[in-house]
Each structure stands twice: as structure tokens, then as C-alpha cells.
């Protein structure tokens, strides 16, 4: 009896609940996000509402964000970034910037939803959970082991071929090759040069050469004696047998650097070629400089594999031996990678140091302007003979018109020897032969969405190291940028496996006549991985948090936003 009453009560309660649920309006599927533009809103664009049969709540008018620098005295290139309308973003520059499209395609300017940036930047969630528009979304990052990406069903472009991409890493070239040979990975980055023949001889594997769009150089800081003496620097330039280094320590496809910038980049090889090796002339110069018996110094480097320097310790040892022939006793000092970059970038290394540069985007400014600009202390006191010409040339859109200026700049670099350009190093990727769409990108941004591991649903890629973070707007490490490039997208993009700039999230970025205003038109209907739709405010917010040092969301990983600084000059409101 008692149980029957209880059952009746339960049935009654269930019926009442169902009735209440049926009468309640449907709840939104996601909590509404209140958009609070942090920058000053511009006048909303008047959009006449279409008359409809059923009266509905009017759509809130689009409030475009805009961030403006009070003037250009802060030392940066950007004057204003503004969301003109929902699908139009306008960049106003302080000076003409012909390289803007190449820069805007770079993964350090990837776009994430405005709301997500506001939510996840402060909590630093954004470092490990990027929300992009790319062909893959992040499923998991198992620290120390792997990153798993899944195919994004609502991708606006050509969908990814493979459902799952797994990123793994190993610092040892031999270990990477072993994994590839044993079939546990489908592709590896940077096989050791000595393994190239092994890969070529294996019918199950295929090697893809990567174009040598980089530079390895031996640098000196001219604020430390004896490198403050130009004759000493010239002596080292003539006393290093660069051909010997390339012949012995670089793979096929590498070449001795005739200039700092590779010849594949327009204007890269203008001006006189570098000094030929001449030991006697070098010794004579050292004697003239007051060092007939040479001197003691150090060779600093980091023992990290890079395509411009595949065997750092061997190259350092050979340079040490070559310097000995000049009478220079050099002690080799191996530094931790981060400390080395920090010290060399600040011009605090008192000896020679081995460093290089991989192209981020295929433009001469990416090589020369960063290294030899007036604000870079890397080589000591910057040379006006170089940076004045570069500043002038950077504002000219037509490469042919800029050529005479680059000739002067390159000749001044040769004369003043802030560093000795050694080689443009070839490198490669290797894949199982059955993987179609495999490639090696000259910019190091291999695109996994076009690869097909023989119909299997998972592609496993092994690179040199674990990413530092996946908020790549504040990363410079190539090992971080590559996974970011599968998840996140920028306004423009680079051709898969190439360097040509193509449409990305913007169908185009068009300049005005004097190249000081770039207007980017966004694709419509692009979805982020969180389901939100791309609009111009997402673009402005993604750029502004990096550009404006006073912005409360200017946090990132280290907060340095190095790429932004060197591509667009000083940050706004930087102390």
C-alpha cells in the first residue's frame, strides 16, 4: 500500500515537471557573451533592417573596435587598427609598408575570438587552449608526450584529409629517424644530414628537401675589443674558409652565403659578393690592426639543431681550428639556448658567436631590417651606413626601385662586417613513401591538412622539440609555430610548401596609393572552433593585445611579443 502511494507521487511529480518544462521558453545553447569593446568604438555602420512578417528583436548594430596611436613618435610602424565594419579591418601605417601582406600572413598574427582572448588571456588558458579557425582543433596536449589535433568539421576552406594529427617530438636526429624507420611516425622534421643517404636508399621512406631560406653567420659585438676594430672583423671575414664549412658540415642543397639574405629573396644578392678566403690577407690585416700574434677570445653557441646550423658543435670546433691558423685562440662556450638568445640579442657576448635566422616571411626586410636596424644592439653599435638605407628602401613597394638602396646597404655590411655570413643551410623533412601530399616548407610551416597517410585516419609527425606554448602571437620558436599553424590562421597565408602570399581569413588586403593604409576584407561565415563567427573585432583584438603594451590583456606567454616588435617597430605605450 505504502509503495503504491510512493509510486503515484513520483508519477505525479514527473508529469508536473514535464508540463513546466514544456511551458518554459527554450534556453540558449550557450551563455550569451556580452561584448565589451576595450578600445574606442567607431560610429556604427547603418544597416537598414529588412522588414519581416514576424517582429523580432533587432540585431545589435556592429560596434567596431579601433585603437589609435596618438602620434608616430612612439617608434612603431602602426598608427591605427580599426574595424571599419563587420568584415573590414583597416591598418593605417606611420610610413609606407610594402611588406605588410607578407607580415600579415605570418602565424605570429593569428586571429582568435575576441571573447576568448578576454576570457583566457588573464587566466593564461590561452597558452594551452588556442581557439582558431584552422582545419584542425586542439583535442589534447599531453605535456612531455604529444599534442593531438582533430579535424574541424566546419572549416571554411578545403577540409583536412586526415581525421587526426598527432605531434610528437625528440631532440635527437637519430631517434627521430629510428621512429620513422620503425613505422611509429609518418613524418619527421630535420633528419641529420648524415642520414640523408640512408633515407634515400630506403624504398619505404622519402626525403623532401627544404629550400635554404635561411642564413648562418658568425657574429661579433663591436662594443667589445678587439672587435671594435673593423680590420679585426675584416680579417676574420677573410680568414674563415666558408666553403670548407659548407662542404663538411652541411647537407646537399646548402650553399656558401654570398650575402646575408638568400638569393631567392628579391634584392637579397644585390651588391658585391662576400670576401674570398685569403688567410695571408687576413693575417696581414690582423697585423695592421695591432694583433700580429692574434689574440684570445671565445666562441659562444647553443647546441641546438637548426636548419641553418645542423651540427653546431662540429662547426664551432672547425671554426676554432680555422681561427687557430690565424693565431686566434678561441675557447668554445656552449650556452643554454634561451640564455644564448637573450645575451646575443642584447649585444652582451664579448666574443664570436654562432647564430642564424630562418625566414618567417619571404621578404628582404625579414632578413636585413631585423638584424641591422638602428634599434638592434645585437652587433653592438648599429651602423647608420646600413640602417639608413634600409629604412629608406623599406618604404618602396617596387623591388626594382629599391635595388640601388639595397646595393648600398649590402656593400656597407660587407665593408663594416658586423658579422660573417657563412651558409644558407639546406634541410629536409622525411616521410613514409606512402604519405601523399607530404612536403617541406621553406618557412618551416608544413601543412598537415593536405597530407594523406595512405588512407589511415591518423597522421603522426615528429619534430625537434615540444612547443613552448600554443599562443603563437607571443612565441618565436618554430617548434611552437608549426602546431599553431594547423589550428590558427592569420589574415593572409603562405602557399602550401611555398612562400607566395595567398588569401587567408581575408580575401585580400589592399593598399592605398602610398602604401600607408591597408584594408583587409574578411571572408564571411568563417567559424571558430568554439562555434562563434569571425568578425573584424576579433582581428582588431588579436592584434591590439600584442601591439598595445598598456592593454590589460597584453600578457601572452612572456609578454615580449618579439615578432610584433621587430616586424612593426616599438609597441604602443611601451615603457
Amino acid at each position: 500500500m505504502k509503495s503504491r502511494s510512493l509510486l503515484s507521487a513520483v508519477i505525479f511529480l514527473v508529469l508536473v515537471s514535464m508540463a513546466v518544462a514544456a511551458c518554459t521558453p527554450a534556453a540558449p545553447t550557450a551563455a550569451p557573451v556580452e561584448v565589451q569593446p576595450t578600445a574606442v568604438p567607431v560610429e556604427p555602420t547603418a544597416v537598414p533592417a529588412e522588414p519581416t512578417a514576424v517582429p523580432v528583436e533587432p540585431m545589435p548594430a556592429f560596434e567596431g573596435m579601433v585603437q589609435t596611436a596618438p602620434d608616430c613618435d612612439y617608434g612603431g610602424l602602426i598608427k591605427e587598427i580599426a574595424a571599419v565594419d563587420e568584415l573590414t579591418v583597416q591598418f593605417t601605417m606611420c610610413v609606407p609598408d610594402p611588406a605588410f601582406p607578407s607580415k600579415a600572413a605570418f602565424s605570429a598574427f593569428a586571429i582568435q575570438p575576441k571573447e576568448w582572448i578576454e576570457t583566457a588571456m588573464v587566466s593564461r588558458e590561452i597558452l594551452e587552449k588556442p581557439v582558431g579557425t584552422g582545419p584542425y582543433y586542439l583535442e589534447s596536449w599531453n605535456r612531455g608526450d604529444s599534442i593531438v589535433l582533430k579535424k574541424f568539421a566546419d572549416y571554411w576552406g578545403d577540409p583536412a584529409i586526415t581525421d587526426t594529427v598527432v605531434f610528437r617530438w625528440s631532440g635527437e636526429g637519430a631517434a627521430r629517424l629510428l621512429e620513422l624507420q620503425s613505422g611509429t611516425v609518418d613524418g619527421i622534421d630535420n633528419p641529420s644530414p648524415d642520414d640523408f643517404e640512408v633515407i634515400k636508399a630506403d624504398p619505404n621512406l622519402k626525403l623532401y628537401d627544404r629550400e635554404a631560406l635561411n642564413i648562418f653567420y658568425v657574429a661579433m659585438t663591436n662594443t667589445f675589443p678587439p672587435f671594435d676594430n673593423v680590420k679585426v672583423r675584416q680579417a676574420i671575414a677573410m680568414g674563415l674558409d666558408r666553403q670548407r664549412l659548407v662542404d663538411n658540415f652541411y647537407p646537399e642543397g646548402s650553399e656558401v652565403a654570398s650575402h646575408f639574405t638568400p638569393c631567392a629573396v628579391p634584392n637579397g644578392c644585390t651588391g658585391d659578393a662576400w670576401y674570398d678566403y685569403d688567410l695571408e690577407a687576413a693575417k696581414a690585416l690582423l697585423t695592421e690592426a695591432g694583433f700580429p700574434d692574434g689574440f684570445d677570445t671565445k666562441i659562444y653557441f647553443r647546441d641546438v639543431f637548426r636548419s641553418y646550423l645542423p651540427e653546431p658543435s662540429l662547426v664551432a670546433t672547425d671554426i676554432q681550428a680555422q681561427l687557430k691558423d690565424l693565431g686566434i685562440n678561441a675557447e668554445i662556450v656552449v650556452m643554454e639556448s634561451g640564455a644564448f638568445i637573450e645575451e646575443s640579442s642584447a649585444g652582451r657576448l664579448d666574443g664570436l658567436y654562432l647564430l642564424g635566422w630562418n625566414a618567417d616571411y619571404p621578404h628582404i626586410t625579414n632578413f636585413l631590417d631585423y638584424h641591422f636596424t638602428a634599434s638592434n644592439p645585437q652587433f653592438g653599435n648599429p651602423f647608420p651606413e646600413v640602417y639608413e638605407k634600409l629604412a629608406e628602401a623599406a618604404q618602396i613597394a617596387d623591388p626594382a626601385v629599391a635595388t640601388p638602396l639595397y646595393v648600398e646597404a649590402n656593400n656597407a655590411i660587407k665593408e663594416l662586417v658586423p658579422m660573417v655570413p657563412i651558409a644558407h643551410g639546406g634541410s629536409a623533412t622525411a616521410f613514409k613513401a606512402e604519405v601523399t601530399g607530404a612536403h617541406a616548407s621553406p618557412l618551416g610551416n608544413e601543412y598537415m591538412a593536405v597530407m594523406d597517410p595512405a588512407g589511415r585516419d591518423t597522421l603522426v609527425w615528429m619534430q625537434n622539440a615540444e612547443p613552448i606554448s600554443l599562443y603563437c602571437n607571443d612565441e618565436t620558436d618554430g617548434e611552437s609555430l608549426r602546431p599553431c599553424e594547423q589550428i590558427l590562421e592569420s589574415l593572409l597565408s603562405y602557399q602550401v610548401g611555398g612562400t607566395v602570399v595567398e588569401p587567408g581569413l581575408a580575401t585580400s588586403c589592399d593598399p592605398n596609393d602610398d602604401l600607408t593604409v591597408w584594408t583587409c576584407h574578411l571572408q564571411s561565415g568563417v567559424k571558430f572552433h568554439d562555434g562563434s563567427t569571425l568578425d573584424a573585432n576579433d582581428v582588431v583584438q588579436s592584434w591590439v593585445v600584442a601591439w598595445d603594451a598598456a592593454n590589460p590583456l597584453h600578457i601572452g606567454n612572456t609578454g615580449a611579443f618579439e615578432y610584433f616588435t621587430y616586424l612593426f617597430g616599438n609597441l604602443l605605450n611601451a615603457e
Binding site: 635527437e172 637519430a174 629517424l177 648524415d194 670548407r244 658540415f249 658543435s313 672547425d318 676554432q320 656552449v334
Partner: protein
């Protein structure tokens, strides 16, 4: 009463029964110790005559000096069919185009130097600390031993890496680090010996005769504490060489172009499949050296340990 004369035979017996002769005799009867001595003798000869044995300067880059020489070339031995027009390199060519055999030969100097200097340093400091601790006792003993306990609480190689990281990479700093982490071992051995010896009747007799503590410690106690120290030291040399090789392998010890076996292994570790000879020969050299010291140390321990006195 006839004068007592010391017969020559008896004198001989006395000498023949001295600890050192006894030890040598016992060692020579052990085959493993004999093997250790032979290998060590060979290594010492190689180290001393490295200049004569090595055909090249170990730091000499051969580019331009020999036709057709390539980095990481396989060994070329004329007796085994290598063409006569090629220069002979019996252990091949390393990554910097240097003769690997010459580098391995000169590496013996560095490894033996590492073993002897680190252990000598550790023994000297360890003996002083152990002797003071054991003989003085009380609070001094407590303080010294607790500090050494803290040192021993860390894995020795990890502690050495930490010390080198603080001091900076380099062979000297690596030697210092290895010596520091091994000091507690010797201090404890000496302290244990001193604790037992200071209670012996002859020490009490010296004390009764008015001998100063320092005099008793140096002339009565320490000489009798040395045998176990020698055994531990001999075994420790092998460990020190291994630790130094490990530090150099990690880039914290000997720096290029020094021909140190650990450095040679470390710089070519990625070539284990493409040029195995470049890791095989330095690896074998390290193994042989450590084996020699271990075999000899075991032999010494067996010979000196009074509980194994049946071999008289």
C-alpha cells in the same frame, strides 16, 4: 746469558710478513686482479707514450692535408684490405675530420688524470675530515658527519651536475665537482677506521706516554687507517672516470677540441647507426679503464681484508 742476535732468516720472515708484501703476494695470486693490473699497466703506457703511439695530433683537422679525407670515414687498415693509396686510420675519422685513433690514445691521458686527481683530492680532504671527526668525537664529529650526510643524500651525479652548472662547464670544474661529491665516502671510511684504532692498546700506550693528540693521530692512527682507504680509492677511480665521462657527454665537462672519451661519445651520439665506430672505440676505452680499476680494487680489497687472511 748468550746475547740475543737477530738471525737473517728471521729478519727475512719479518719483512716477508709485512702488510704490503703480503698484499702484493695476495694480489698476484688473484687472476682478476692480475688482469686489472695488466690492463691498467697498458693504459698507463699508452698515456705516457701517447705522443709516440698516436700518428696525428689529436686536434689536427685533416682537411687539406690528406686527399679525399671525409668526415666520419670508416676505419682504414691496410692489413685488412684498405687500399694502399688511402691514408691509414685504424679507428676512422671523426665528425671534425680528425684521426679517431689519435684522439682515443690521447684520451687515455685525460681519463687517467681525471681519475687520479679527483680521487687524490677527495682522499686528502676526506681523510682530514674523517680523522678529525673520528678522533675528536662529540659535537665536532656530529657537525662534520651531518654535513657529509647531507652531501650523501643527493645522487652523486646529480649533485655533480648541479655544482658544474653553478661553476660553469669545463674540465676543471667537473673535476672539482666529482671530487666534492666523493669526499663523504672517504671521510666515512677514515672515521670508521679511526674510531676502532684509537681504542687499540698501542694508541692508549702512546697517550699514556704523553703523546699529543696530533702526534698520535698522524703517527699512530692514520697509518693504520690507510689500507681500507686504498681499496675504496681504487674502486672510486673507476667511478670518477665514469662520472667525468658522463659530465663531458652532457657537455658539462671537457670542452672541444679536447680529446676526452665522454666528449667524443657525446658529440657523435647521433651517429650511432651511420658511424658506429665513432662511439664504439671511446666507449670501449672507457669500459676497459673502469674495468681495470674495478678488478684491481676488488683484488686489493680481498688482499687487505684481514678476514680473508687464509692466503698467508
Amino acid at each position: 746469558m748468550a746475547p740475543v742476535t737477530l738471525s737473517t732468516d728471521k729478519h727475512k720472515d719479518y719483512r716477508s710478513n709485512s702488510l704490503w708484501r703480503l698484499t702484493l703476494r695476495r694480489i698476484s695470486r688473484q687472476s682478476s686482479a692480475r688482469v686489472g693490473m695488466v690492463i691498467l699497466g697498458f693504459l698507463i703506457l699508452v698515456a705516457v707514450f701517447a705522443n709516440v703511439i698516436a700518428p696525428y695530433d689529436p686536434e689536427q683537422v685533416l682537411i687539406g692535408l690528406e686527399d679525399g679525407v671525409k668526415k666520419r670515414s670508416d676505419p682504414c687498415i691496410h692489413l685488412l684490405g684498405c687500399p694502399k693509396d688511402q691514408a691509414q686510420h685504424i679507428m676512422g675519422i671523426d665528425g671534425n675530420v680528425r684521426d679517431q685513433f689519435s684522439r682515443v690514445v690521447f684520451g687515455s691521458r685525460i681519463s687517467l688524470m681525471i681519475g687520479f686527481t679527483t680521487i687524490s683530492f677527495a682522499i686528502i680532504i676526506g681523510t682530514i675530515l674523517g680523522a678529525i671527526s673520528g678522533y675528536a668525537g662529540g659535537a665536532i664529529d656530529n657537525i662534520i658527519m651531518r654535513i657529509l650526510d647531507v652531501l650523501m643524500a643527493f645522487p652523486s651525479l646529480l649533485l655533480a651536475i648541479t655544482i658544474v652548472s653553478v661553476l660553469g662547464p669545463g674540465l676543471q670544474n667537473a673535476l672539482l665537482a666529482i671530487a666534492i661529491v666523493t669526499i663523504p665516502v672517504y671521510a666515512r671510511v677514515v672515521r670508521a677506521s679511526v674510531l676502532s684504532i684509537k681504542e687499540m692498546p698501542y694508541v692508549a700506550a702512546s697517550r699514556a706516554l704523553g703523546g699529543s693528540p696530533l702526534h698520535i693521530l698522524i703517527s699512530r692512527v692514520l697509518p693504520n687507517a690507510i689500507p681500507p682507504l686504498i681499496v675504496t680509492g681504487t674502486l672510486g677511480i673507476g667511478t670518477a672516470i665514469l662520472d667525468a665521462a658522463a659530465l663531458s657527454f652532457l657537455g658539462l665537462g671537457a670542452q672541444p677540441p679536447m680529446s676526452e672519451w665522454g666528449t667524443m661519445l657525446g658529440s657523435e651520439r647521433n651517429q650511432v647507426f651511420t658511424a658506429p665506430h665513432l662511439v664504439f672505440f671511446p666507449g670501449i676505452a672507457i669500459m676497459l679503464t673502469v674495468l681495470a680499476f674495478n678488478l684491481l680494487g676488488d683484488g686489493l680489497r680481498d688482499a687487505i681484508d684481514p678476514r680473508l687472511g687464509q692466503a698467508n
